[in-house]
Amino acid sequence: MLLKTETYNQQNKFVEYCRNGKEISILGAVPERLPHYRRLVFNGFKDALETTFPIAFQYIDSKIWDEMVYTFFSSHKCSDPQVWRMPNEFVDFCEAENYGEKFTLPFLNDLLRFEWMEVEVYMMEDIEYPANISTTILLQSKIAVNPEHKIIKLEYPVHMEKPFDAVDKKGNYFLLLFREKETGRVQFSNLSILFAFLIENISAEEKTLEEILNDILYLFGINDLKMLQTKVFKFLDELKARGFVLGSLKI
């Protein structure tokens, strides 16, 4: 490296000051102007996180929120050069620091993950839609769905309730997020575990709908195939009306 250790140390000290505010001596620096950098850099983080997590920011006590944001800012080394992706690192950081337990916010991991996932699906790179589709949903065919989607598993229903109302409703929740082709808006659909299994298997494009239903009969201990088919077709029709299910893949 052409940079001398002394120069590197000065840059590093400057950055460390910006992050943790500890008093330092930087050659030639104007001490009373250093706080402006610290303020500007911190505000960049603060604003990005408040914008990405509006629900968490609204409902979490401001002192706790500030502590989480400040600790992240001062101790986490952000690796992504695209600032809009930085909040994803905040989600992982809060989970690793076990903030949900520390601050008695059991829904925290789910809430942050849910809010980030909306951004991620909204911004994700375009994925090519399947070609050769029949608009009818056929039992003997593989089903085509909007490829721009994610399914997340939550312990608390933060997608349906205010965060603190969700605390006593711990369970297994599955949420489908998909991006509308025409508008780019993100749509949500609450899924039962059976329908989450169904959608994940449909997305894999490895089995026909009939084969997936047979798997469901076996795995979920269901005996009534006709009833299952009726419910699944109703569910798929609803998702088709919302632009998620596209039809059947032609062989």
Binding site: E6, T7, Q11, R19, G44, K77, M124, E125, D126
Partner: protein
């Protein structure tokens, strides 16, 4: 899909028009905040638009469609935020690969970056920090710029940044910038407002500073507003209209620089688009007055 042939034809017209057209037009930094109204095409008529690639690459959906529409309407220049050319560590080649792809996808001729660092010890701070004005930093940064240029297969332009305190400086800023431009073989983006801000904050003469820069290497000019936060301190906010003394410095500068693209930056406190159009028009009046007669003063006469 973008009609690439049409795009390339219009691009060729676009940037070259900046030099050849009878009435030169200034560009504007494109912001999501005004994207919808901007793309309706009636409120503002810039000569070109500038994007930060970091905010627009590797995305899809609504904003990618907006970007495609923008690219069909305007020539695009790019002004990076996260290359961190002054960082001690190695360049992020994955990031650079994405930049290269973005420049190719949208047929972008000008890629500029800040002469600053925003990453240290492998941690991004997402802000522009001043590089120590030192001999070893010149060698280090110039070598990194050459590496970027080799990889991208083009010259890049580096921008003089505003700074509020020097960090371990051993020389003056103009000497530092000039040496890097010379050693790296790159172009320069002259931010006139940054010169004004720095001259005020560090008590030097703005014209003398500009006179000491390699003016023949200037590829691009930025203009912006700022905010005075104390009697002795201005912050480069891009959140106000350009003030008269910065216009005067701009006018003085244009007498010494060949015609190049000029851009208005407005990132915060964004007004109505017709207000931004008025600022563009003010810049264009000066550009056309100073450059239409090709009366650029030789650098040696400064």
């Amino acid at each position: 899909m973008l009609n690439i042939n049409c795009l390339k034809l219009r691009r060729t017209i676009g940037i070259k028009q900046l030099h050849n057209q009878k009435k030169m037009k200034a560009g504007i930094g494109f912001r999501k905040e005004f994207a919808e109204e901007f793309l309706s095409g009636s409120a503002i008529h810039p000569g070109f638009v500038e994007l930060a690639p970091e905010n627009w690459m590797n995305i899809g959906g609504y904003w990618k469609r907006q970007l495609k529409q923008l690219a069909e309407m305007h020539s695009i220049t790019s002004h990076g935020l996260s290359l961190s050319i002054g960082s001690p560590e190695e360049l992020d080649m994955k990031f650079l690969k994405n930049i290269k792809q973005f420049l190719t996808d949208y047929d972008i001729e000008i890629y500029s970056e800040h002469l600053s660092f925003s990453k240290c010890d492998n941690a991004h701070l997402y802000d522009l920090l001043p590089i120590p004005f030192r001999e070893d930093a010149i060698k280090h940064v110039a070598q990194r710029i050459r590496q970027v240029q080799d990889y991208l297969g083009r010259q890049i332009a580096i921008e003089n940044v505003s700074y509020y305190t020097p960090v371990a400086a051993e020389m003056d800023e103009a000497t530092f910038i000039s040496a890097i431009v010379e050693e790296a073989g790159c172009k320069m983006l002259l931010d006139v407002n940054n010169v004004f801000v720095n001259a005020f904050n560090h008590n030097y003469n703005a014209k003398e500073f500009i006179g000491n820069l390699p003016l023949d290497k200037i590829q691009y000019i930025h203009m912006a507003g700022h905010t005075k936060v104390a009697d002795d301190l201005i912050i480069d906010t891009h959140g106000e209209a350009i003030i008269d003394p910065v216009y005067e410095l701009f006018e003085w500068t244009l007498e010494r620089v060949e015609p190049v693209p000029v851009l208005l930056e407005r990132d915060f406190n964004i007004p109505e688009l017709n207000e931004l159009q008025r600022e563009l028009s003010s810049l264009e009046v000066i550009m056309n007055k100073k450059w239409e007669t090709n009366n650029v003063i030789e650098n040696r006469n400064i």
